[in-house]
């Protein structure tokens, strides 16, 4: 099986990789680029654990082929903190105990950041509907919603 050569930007850095035609961006991130923070919960776009942004757009990386991201800019959970400084969402998730097992957390953080970029002052209902594509089986979402709203408050003050 021949592989394709792809060049893309991941978390601000230019990367090159080889991938088979049918391999998803998620597989590439995890197995070729060793960025295992993006998780596979379903492989069918139903759980949101593999959420990344591609050219700023929130996407399930399991639904995109690796060969499709040529020339595109991808942001993953590994690029969310500014160096050693956590993003307000990351900090608020810790303060609010908004994670239990943590496997859905990277995807939810990426999705929540995407929400706050578009809507810095969401209502609770808007948060719940925006995150409806991200499953969490541990928390019942209560503390996740609180953390996102609190992070939004803090980010509006900055």
């Amino acid at each position: 099986m021949s592989k394709h050569h792809v060049t893309a930007t991941v978390n601000g850095d230019v990367v090159e990789f080889l991938c088979e035609t049918h391999r998803s961006l998620l597989d590439v991130l995890r197995d070729e680029l060793n960025l295992t923070g993006t998780k596979e919960g379903c492989g069918t776009g139903d759980c949101g654990a593999c959420s990344v942004t591609i050219d700023g757009r929130l996407t399930c990386s399991c639904l995109v082929l690796g060969v499709e991201v040529e020339g595109k800019a991808i942001e993953t959970i590994e690029g969310m903190a500014a160096g050693a400084v956590l993003h307000p969402l990351q900090r608020k998730f810790l303060e609010h105990a908004a994670l239990q097992c943590g496997i859905c957390t990277p995807g939810i953080l990426i999705a929540a950041r995407s929400l706050l970029e578009r809507n810095p002052d969401p209502t609770e209902e808007e948060v719940r509907y925006w995150l409806a594509g991200n499953l969490c089986r541990c928390t019942g979402y209560h503390k996740i919603v609180d953390a996102v709203l609190d992070a939004a408050r803090e980010m509006r003050r900055q």
């Binding site: 069918t44 654990a49 590994e78 239990q100 496997i103 995150l131 541990c138 209560h142």
Partner: protein
């Protein structure tokens, strides 16, 4: 809103506060490593071939073409795993039969469900492994199958095991059946009591199997060396149990297998047993390479145990004054492909919330052509509680009592006998009911198409074997190592108890989950036992360290050790020496470790008794759309006796998560089979777990009635919360539409049907 009811003022500095979890940062930055995140040089990808048939005899398996495919390094079948004796081992409630277990890991004579593993390959890439699976030729003789529990119990049902004689019936039946076991518990004289009751309510119920729905599919990495030593990195609820079961299934010594605990992406009981680990290890043994297996979501649904579906009948007799005088329940549970549903728990816990003098609980464990069921949060108990709490609600309505008042009048108290023998010994049940009676929401008015439902629930909780090591580092910081997997923040609660006991700051304590070669045995993180049992081990190890620190202070001061006390993180002179020396902090003593005897370390292992049960009472408000049958949960309030909340945020999180799973179980979730016995909704699109927009805020009330048998009063908190949830939602829906709902899930078509049959009637 979260309320906490405290029976006494706390004098604790760390316990009861809400610090940041010590393992938090890697989990928000993506650096935490879960089961699928490990790799080794030279690693192969393992893949499992699964049966397309629900029931078939395997005539032959030809792996030669797969074996010949370039890049394939090993192909295995059940022939690569040793056979086991047919015997049930361990306590009846959790008995294991390795003859069954090895057949569930890899089919032998027959496949027993769609998705049953039949062979596996290891190859240099996933694509080659996938291609190799397609080259394996299995010759099946397809057999008739049976999915439903009632149908599986019929005398003419297809038999999964042609020689299975029901256990628990005297004399033993002379014909085989799919009923693996019948169990019965009885106190008093139910027949006479029913004859004397003023009112009798009896109803039958059905529930669908539901999946735990952990977001992380089963995954592991395994390495088997030519000298027989092996290592496994596994995401599980207990790496010591994975070690024991995997070693047994491979026929190797436990001492030759080291299991490292990966972070676990949810378990809820579903990761108590191995699925991929024995296969990956067998492939590694055969190929000589490390092998990684990561399940797909479809494999998780089809081959990793869901919680059983059921068919149940519950009958309750009451006096006019509201006293329940007799109760009877018959609980038929789908075990799945091999015996071992949690029907015994269901029978034991069903009526445990109440003081009822005459009770009979009968359970049937029934095999059928579905995946073998696995534990799920208070295994078996939410199902029986759903039936019982529905009938309790009907009985309250029949005699015209408020459902909480009715429960309070009948509540079990210390001294109340249980159906399995011992008397209840712990307080805390009544307080959860009283908490909800006082809740302003309980008396809030409802609008049209809305209903309110309440329910209570009991769960044993668990103690058992745990180990902890406490190392005082050179600078006075402390390492706490345990063998308990951290599913939900238990590193934090264990570190908090250590800090409280030692009298030092929380952030001076760093907890780890140690692998099987680095700490004494620890049982599963299951049964709500970690903060309770492992907590006891941690506190005992800290006390041992304190004894050591006092002795060293005594040596430095040249006094007797009994003249040194430990207070606020310091050794202080006491007795005749009181005030003679400046206190020595843990840090100061650690600095002098070399001249006072060397490293300061203690390891303690316990088999923790003194467990206190979990108890929860919940109410829920719903609104039913009369045009579509869709149910919206408007409000959910859960009161649980937690003993003492070590980290209240994570205790609230347990309750919120349990309630959310209960809501999903009640409204959406089910395994749907086609007539060919194939699962039609093996994905999160069609198997609908609750999403954020489905749920309301889940209000928690932490009732704290301390467990006197734990140093900080802990009762397990992980499971009791889901026990009443199914019934609370069902009672609310029933009240909203004025018709008794008797089947889960209450999906829109079923609710609409109930509404329509009411209209017709």
């Amino acid at each position: 809103m979260s309320a906490t009811l405290k029976p006494e003022e706390k004098k604790l500095k760390v316990v009861g506060t809400r610090p940041i979890r010590p393992d938090g940062v890697p989990k928000v930055t993506g650096l935490a490593r879960y089961g699928a995140d490990y790799s080794l040089p030279g690693m192969l990808w393992g893949k499992i071939l699964r049966s397309p048939h629900p029931h078939a005899r395997i005539r032959s398996i030809d792996t030669s073409k797969a074996q010949a495919l370039p890049g394939v390094k090993a192909v295995m079948t059940s022939a690569d795993l040793p056979e086991h004796k047919f015997e049930y081992v361990g306590p009846e409630r959790v008995a294991v039969n390795f003859w069954h277990m090895t057949r569930n890991i890899m089919a032998r004579e027959k496949v027993l469900y769609e998705g049953h593993a039949v062979a596996a390959v290891a190859a240099i890439s996933r694509s080659i492994a996938d291609e190799a699976l397609r080259l394996i030729e299995v010759d099946y003789e397809v057999l008739p199958h049976v999915i439903d529990v009632e149908e599986a119990m019929r005398p003419d049902a297809p038999l999964l095991f042609e020689d299975m004689i029901t256990r628990g019936i005297e004399p033993a039946p002379d014909k085989p059946s799919n009923v693996s076991k019948r169990i019965e518990f009885k106190i008093g004289d139910p027949e006479a009591a029913f004859a004397a009751a003023d009112e009798i309510v009896e109803t039958s119920f059905k529930t669908a199997p539901v999946h735990q729905g952990y977001l992380e599919p089963q995954a592991c990495l395994a390495r088997f060396d030519p000298d027989g030593q092996a290592e496994v990195w596994a995401s599980s609820q207990g790496h010591f149990v994975i070690r024991a079961l995997t070693a047994r299934l491979l026929g190797m010594d436990i001492g030759n297998l080291r299991v490292y605990p990966a972070e676990i992406g949810g378990g809820f009981g579903g990761k108590n047993v191995p699925y991929v680990e024995p296969v990956a290890l067998a492939l590694s043994r055969k190929s000589g390479h490390p092998v990684k297996i990561v399940m797909t979501r479809e494999e998780v649904f089809k081959a990793c145990g869901p919680a059983p579906g059921s068919s149940m009948t519950v009958k309750i007799g009451v006096r006019k004054d509201g006293k329940i005088v007799v109760a009877e329940g018959v609980f038929k549970f789908q075990a799945g492909a091999v015996p071992g549903s949690p029907v015994m728990n269901a029978c034991m816990c069903a009526f445990a919330p109440y003081d009822i003098p005459n009770v009979r609980s009968v359970g049937y464990d029934v095999v059928c052509n579905r995946p073998k069921t696995a534990a799920y949060r208070a295994p078996g108990t939410p199902v029986s509680a759903y039936a019982v709490e529905s009938v309790v609600d009907m009985a309250a309505a029949r005699i015209g009592m408020d459902p909480l008042q009715f429960r309070l009048k009948n509540i079990a108290r210390p001294g109340t006998p249980t159906v399995w023998g011992p008397k209840h010994t712990h307080e805390g049940f009544t307080e959860t009911i009283q908490a909800l009676m006082k809740h302003p929401g309980y008396s809030a008015p409802l609008r049209k198409n809305q209903g309110r439902g309440v329910a209570s629930g009991y769960w044993f909780n668990n103690g058992g074997e745990s180990s902890a090591a406490v190392h005082v580092n050179e600078d006075g910081t402390v390492l706490v190592a345990t063998g308990s997997a951290d599913l939900s923040g238990t590193r934090a609660s264990l570190a908090m108890m250590a800090a409280e006991t030692l009298g030092i700051d929380y952030d001076k304590v760093r907890p780890i989950v140690a692998d099987t070669a680095s700490i004494g045995y620890g049982h599963l993180a299951a049964g709500s036992r970690t903060t309770f049992a492992t907590g006891i081990a941690v506190v005992e190890a800290c006390k041992k360290v304190i004894g050591n620190l006092r002795a060293r202070a005594a040596m430095i001061w040249e006094v007797n050790a009994e003249d040194v006390i430990w207070e606020d993180g310091c050794a202080r002179p006491a007795g005749g020496n009181k005030g003679r020396f400046e206190p020595l902090s843990l840090k100061a003593i650690a600095a002098k470790r070399s001249v006072t005897g060397g490293p300061i370390v203690a390891e303690v292992s316990v088999n923790a008794g003194g467990v206190a049960p979990g108890f929860a009472t919940e109410f829920c408000d719903v609104e039913v759309d009369p045009e579509t049958g869709q149910v919206k949960v408007l409000r959910f309030v859960a009161a649980q006796d937690v003993g003492r909340a070590i980290h209240p945020s994570y205790v609230e999180g347990q309750i919120q998560g349990g309630a959310a799973q209960g809501i999903g179980w009640a409204l959406n979730e089910e395994y749907i089979y086609d007539t060919a016995g194939r699962l039609t909704n093996a994905g999160f699109l069609d198997y609908r777990v609750p999403v954020a927009s489905d749920l309301p805020r889940i209000e928690t009330v932490l009732v704290e009635v301390p467990n006197p048998n734990h140093p900080f009063g802990v009762k397990g908190v992980g499971e009791a919360n889901i026990v009443p949830s199914l019934a609370a939602v069902s009672n609310a829906v029933s009240n909203a539409i004025g018709r008794r709902m008797t089947e889960l899930p209450m999906s829109p078509p079923k609710v609409l049907h109930a509404i329509d049959s009411g209209r017709a009637g």
